[in-house]
Point group: C2
Chain length 152, copies 2
Amino acid sequence: MPEQTVRQPVRISPIGHVETGYGRPEDAPPQATENYREQGRVVVYDEYRDGLAGLENCPHIWLLVWLHAQDDDQAAELRCVPRGLTATGEKRGVFSTRSPNRPSRLGMSLVRVVGIDGNVIHFHGVDLVDGTPVLDIKPWVRSTDVPPHPGG
Amino acid sequence: MPEQTVRQPVRISPIGHVETGYGRPEDAPPQATENYREQGRVVVYDEYRDGLAGLENCPHIWLLVWLHAQDDDQAAELRCVPRGLTATGEKRGVFSTRSPNRPSRLGMSLVRVVGIDGNVIHFHGVDLVDGTPVLDIKPWVRSTDVPPHPGG
């Protein structure tokens, strides 16, 4: 495949957005799985509502989101100080970290489904800012989302 | 946040592309974690190469990709027959399945890093078609990617 074809930016339409109590990235908890005591909502737009059928049988789901509120300059950086290295200030390549500041602005938030009410998904596990666009929702599946031999 | 803001399509520039032996989606294996015997490559574009520093310490990584080769009509469908239900033909909402045919065309491929050679990542775990644009790379992290209580 010619490189000029695959290098074109892709366009993705949000299917919904997240509603939480956080207005700024610096106030939001760093990780969904560490904050299952707090509840948020996904509002799925009407034209995508049919895609939710069966989601009530999925205990945990991935929210694939576009981290709209991150700072533009920081998102463009290819080296960053990961959370675990703030004491030393050591930088890593962004693709070897889970930093929310990254060129794609793509985030993966693993949340627990509490209930579905029409086009609204209630979930536990808040690490996103209010209004974050949701690009996709996928069920968490152990055989797909955990390596067969995680240690190696 | 006003809905008209968050509903706008987002634009994401690929950071690289995948090279595999599969030209068509219907020939590719359904799941990376089921095909760790087979090797593929990610070619990261020069301007993103600095972001790879430290990736040699990540045994498993997520490739967040744009499934460019899926059929347009199928990708737009909100109900599909998941792999496990082909015998009955029962349809589910696409967001409760891992079907590659989905509105966002976003795919998550969990692969094992074999080695890094400049801007090329060699990996085990092929389920992608040759030329698939890679939008982001993230390390797999157990505490982030496995629910605290997966059963509930």
